[in-house]
Amino acid sequence: MISTTTRIRQALRRPWIARIGVIVLLFCFWEIAARWWIDPMFLSPPSRVFMSLQQVFDTRGVPAALRITFWELAVAFVLSVVIGLVIGLAVGLQPFARRSFMPIILLLYGTPQVTILPLFILYFGIGPASKIAFGVSHGFFPIIVTVVAGVQNVKPILLTSARSMGASRWQMLRHVIFPHMIPSFFAGMRLGMTGVLLGVLLAELYVSTAGIGYFTTLFTQNFDPTRLLGLVAVLAAMAIVLNEVVRRAEVHFGRWHTD
């Protein structure tokens, strides 16, 4: 007869069970704090948030806003990838271009772009365009950097070997440099997705008429923590799913990469 405590202790030996246990504990703590300690104007317990999720979706305009935000993310991501790939290849394949422009690109990559968020809104308006633009502005830098690295880091022996077998310049590009760059490219896309999420969501939170930012502001101003938490949870879930998709793609396409 194994006692319950022993059984629990045995189960906890597996890390993933312990992790779930930690999360459950946190939720319990949240539940207790929200019910008894904290003013319900500021925080809602998870049970209530969960029950009211349907309400959030029923709020007029929320589903549409979620769709618009998702669309902004998708467009920003695709644009980042295309622009990043083009610039990355242009700069990475030509050594002189790389030496000249990489320092400038890295400098821009390092600046706190959030300072010019108001500028983006002024230039692109308060609609989806500014969100997409700001997302692209965050997303394409890591792609450029990783594509350049992927092109640069080809082991010289591979190029020598191809040359010794009679490969033309175009063949080397297509059969050696390009396949070599793919894992880096996907790693860059993973970082790019993080950037796009940051950019689009920042812009949404700043000012939004049709996107999700409108409702976060609304729920905040109305002191409706239940719906706000619900909405934020949905957005967080969206972010997690998008990140996971890109991460899986990276693992799949980077299979041979031994870095």
């Binding site: 022996i157 070997s161 077998m165 009679g166 041979w256």
Partner: protein, 286 residues
């Protein structure tokens, strides 16, 4: 082995950097050599003596500062993929391709028509014993098998000449022995001309028809030793008296050059002259 000359090296010298440069290095100094068709010639010598440089010059990957190389009567001006195939020490297989994709890609580069590729790939993989591993990725193979795959790729190009730069250098001794035996068998079946760079005295003695011994940097050919033993060489050749004599001769020729190189690069424990003399007379300590 016919008497025909496959590769003619004429007074080749090569230096890196300019005179007066901090990084100026004379890698190769006035080297001349005739390599007969169908023979396996080993280049052996201390580190930095220019043997890899000579190989790259022969293969057209490098243009020598002075001197010329002729392959089958034609002057070498760049890579000659239809005449010369390389096997490098470093793993030069494309890691994102399977073994057979690697072999096919080599033929694509050379310009083999698509219809022929499958047959050639099959033949060369069978020749190196990797028929069952065609769909594997390099990362899934051991070091020895990877070099076999690299060899298969080179063989599929069906060139007359094979240049091998320490191809077994990164492998453990047991794998080296097996691959060496297999290479000898391969050589007996084709009339390829092979130039083989190695550090290993035993490997050179076992594989070569002739061994060119290099001096320390700036390198030139000190002496050429003949190994008169038909291919395929049996494993028991290694324990024969002939083998030991040749190997000892190589050792004698090389030892001073190796010490010279180590002294130059600051490696090796400092010896006094009397210790050196004692060791030389004794012969056994080393």
């Amino acid at each position: 082995m016919t008497g025909e000359v496959a590769i003619r090296v004429k007074d080749v010298s090569h230096q890196f950097g300019e005179e007066g440069d901090a990084r100026h290095v004379v890698a190769l100094r006035h080297t001349s050599l005739d390599i007969a068709r169908g023979e396996l010639l080993c280049l052996i010598g201390p580190s930095g003596c220019g043997k890899s440089t000579l190989l790259n010059v022969i293969g057209g990957l490098m243009t020598p500062t002075t001197g010329t190389v002729e392959v089958s009567g034609k002057p070498v001006r760049g890579p000659m993929p239809h005449d010369i195939a390389f096997v490098f020490q470093e793993n030069a297989l494309f890691p994102w391709n399977t073994v057979i994709e690697n072999v096919n890609l080599g033929m694509t580069f050379q310009g083999v028509p698509r219809a022929e590729r499958e047959a050639r790939a099959k033949r060369s993989l069978e020749a190196v014993g990797l028929k069952d591993f065609a769909q594997h990725y390099p990362a899934q193979l051991s070091g020895g098998m990877r070099q076999r795959a690299a060899l298969a790729r080179a063989l599929s190009l069906e060139t007359g000449i094979l240049l091998m730069d320490e191809p077994f250098g990164a492998l453990d001794e047991q794998t080296r022995m097996i691959l060496g035996e297999d290479l000898s068998v391969l050589l007996s079946r084709t009339d390829k001309t092979i130039v083989f760079v190695t550090h290993s005295l035993g490997e050179a003695t076992f594989l070569a028809d002739r061994v060119a011994v290099f001096s320390a940097r700036p390198g030139t050919i000190k002496e050429i030793i003949k190994v008169d033993e038909p291919h395929p060489r049996k494993p028991d050749f290694v324990t024969s008296q002939k083998f030991t004599t040749i190997r000892n001769e190589l050792y004698r020729l090389l030892h001073d050059e190796i010490r010279k190189t180590m002294a130059e690069t600051g490696m090796g424990v400092a010896h006094s002259a009397s210790e050196d003399a004692r060791e030389r007379a004794d012969g056994s300590a080393l």
